[in-house]
């Protein structure tokens, strides 16, 4: 695979990732969010695959498969069970316009702070680094502004995708053991939060985290 193709795949994937993240701040329905997550996971897997192909690194290709399985398959599936199975939830968060505006500001901020981090590296991967940071920040932003439990989960996954993106763009991913462990951890966290969401519905009669204000000083 030649360099320009890799470069264009990487750029496309990064673009898709960023776009889906921004869209996440706009869309309210849980089902839509989960679909966007699938797209995002696929884009990430594509990115990893492209990097692996360009380097001829079999291990990285394997990781790409793993990423596709977990991020585009298992995670959305785990999240989506609520969304599609029981009831479709709409999140009441801050107004979409404000959410989008926030995402835009954060993206700019990400570019501003990531610039020195590249340290003069002009490769496509390095130039895409700010997008990773932006994804992290946008994920955080979703966590901050959404009021339903599942939406917060979505935000967490976006944040994690951002980190993974940074990892692949800057260093072709971490050592395999660490990568596996990390992936497993994230998966488990999401599963646990899902279980807690179910329990929350039992105890609080809903999944809005706004109801979680009993423990306070």
């Amino acid at each position: 695979m030649n360099a320009s193709l890799t470069s264009s795949i990487v750029t496309t994937a990064v673009g898709v990732l960023l776009l889906t993240a921004v869209l996440q701040t706009w869309r309210r329905s849980t089902a839509a969010s989960v679909r966007l997550l699938v797209v995002q996971g696929l884009a990430l897997a594509g990115l990893v695959a492209a990097l692996g192909a360009s380097r001829g690194d079999a291990q990285l290709l394997l990781v790409a498969g793993l990423v596709a399985l977990v991020k585009a398959g298992l995670l959305p599936w785990a999240l989506g069970r609520t969304a599609t199975g029981r009831l479709v939830e709409r999140d009441s968060g801050v107004r979409p316009a404000l959410g989008l505006l926030g995402a835009a500001v954060l993206t700019m901020f990400a570019y501003a702070v990531s610039d020195p981090l590249r340290g003069g590296d002009q490769s496509a991967a390095a130039r895409a680094l700010p997008a990773g940071v932006a994804l992290v920040l946008i994920g955080f932003w979703i966590l901050l502004t959404r009021h339903s439990a599942v939406s917060q989960l979505v935000g967490f996954v976006v944040l994690d995708n951002g980190i993974a993106m940074v990892a692949f763009l800057t260093s072709d991913g971490l050592p395999l053991t660490v990568e596996l462990g990390a992936t497993l951890d994230v998966l488990l966290v999401v599963v646990i939060l899902r279980a807690l969401t179910t329990r929350m519905r039992d105890t609080h009669g809903g999944t809005s985290v706004d109801d979680l204000t009993e423990l306070r000083d």
């Binding site: 920040l137 955080f140 901050l144 423990l215």
Partner: protein, 504 residues
Amino acid sequence: MTHLSFLSLATGFALVASKAHSTTFTQISAAQITGPTGIAAFLLLLIGFATKAGLVPLHVWLPRAHPEAPSHVSAVMSAAMVKLGVYGIILLVGSWLPQVARPFAILVLALGVLSGAYGILQASITSDLKRLLAYSTTENVGLAVTAVGVGMLLSNAGQDAVATIALVAALLLVVSHAAFKTVLFLGAGTILHATGERDLDRLGGLIRSHPVTTWTFGIAAMGAAALPVTSGFAAEWTLLQALVHGDGRANTTLALALPVTLGLMALTIGLGLLTFVKAFGMAFLARPRSEAAATPAPEFTSKPGSAAMGVAQAIGALSVLALGLAVGPLATAFSSVLGYSGIITSELGGLRLVTIGVLDPYALGLVAVGLAVPVALLVLVLRRRVPRRETDLAWGCGGVRTSPRMEYTATSYAEPLVRVFGEALRPTRSLEVSHHAEDHVLEHRVAFAQEVSDIVEDRWYAPAAVWLRVAGDQARRVQNGSIHRYLAFSFAALVLVLVVVTLP
């Protein structure tokens, strides 16, 4: 308060230690720290030790802690722990930071003098025996620190001999206070145990059921009131001599500070006298003012601890007297420790300040005995001739005894003082007069209430406590239960860190 003390001491020591690069006392002395660090360290250490010592305005823990603590704990606390504070101050100004301390002599002196006067004023008007003793601790410590302050001032003026005498006085004060205050607290404990009361307004007449406690308490009270020939008297005499022999002509500060100190100290002594007359008289003399005091538990029970208590009190009382009698050797020892030879033991074992004066308890006692002998002979003769007769009441203003409520109480005893020092004590009074329904001139009922609280506590500490509570209430908003707020904190931290990282 203990913590305030601990923290200021810790920070102070931290400053000193970081300058001296060592934590041993000798190294600190050798380091000769000066400058702003020295001043900060000095002030912090002073606050720390002053709190430990219970000096005004850092005394508030004393009258609160003592009434709650068991009496023997109070005794130890008062005799030992508080002393650590004084010892610390002496070390601080004498050894660790003498250069820095010099300009603050007036501050130390003011702390001491004010503590003395304020402490004894509060002690004189309270009717709670243990609170009284606690405030009296503040007074005694105040006097000791006064002596330290006087010593500092005098040595600033180059009058080192007199300054040393003042320091010796401080040490004597500390030692004698340890002796008599232990006995007083043990006595208070015995009273509390016997009657369940520590309110002097409800005590009385214990001299009949508790002779040992009465006499030991009485002797210790004499020490506290600085009557001859107890150790307290010798100590205060030494300090007074130092004051009078300091040469005020040296500078204006001295010319004003010495008389003011003497005046306030004299007031302290006078009020101390009143305080302990009140404490002793109200607790042990007259008739019981309450049921509990009328039927106290016996002084010595079969319980093993009770005799030991009596022995402890007796030993303490003896040591109060012994310290008074042995003041000469004691002071000589102190002065030789300080490297001063102007204090020696006089011929009969008394205390002689060379070129200043002599205080000899033995000689004084001999003269008194000599004068008492003819009186005693006369009494013996008269006793045989005219025996004493028991009667209900000799005068009693018509001879009517109604109820113990007619007696003077500790509160009424101190009432004139509350009036005289109304400006300083700010008592709260309320007077309710309810009139008869038929006639407004006839009064049905009059209720009067008066309460004196610690104004330092009310004016300084209470507002601080209120402020802290408000701050605490405001701070609760931080933790209002909203996960979004919590995430926002983390997010803000993340953004800030990112910005910091990017900055070159």
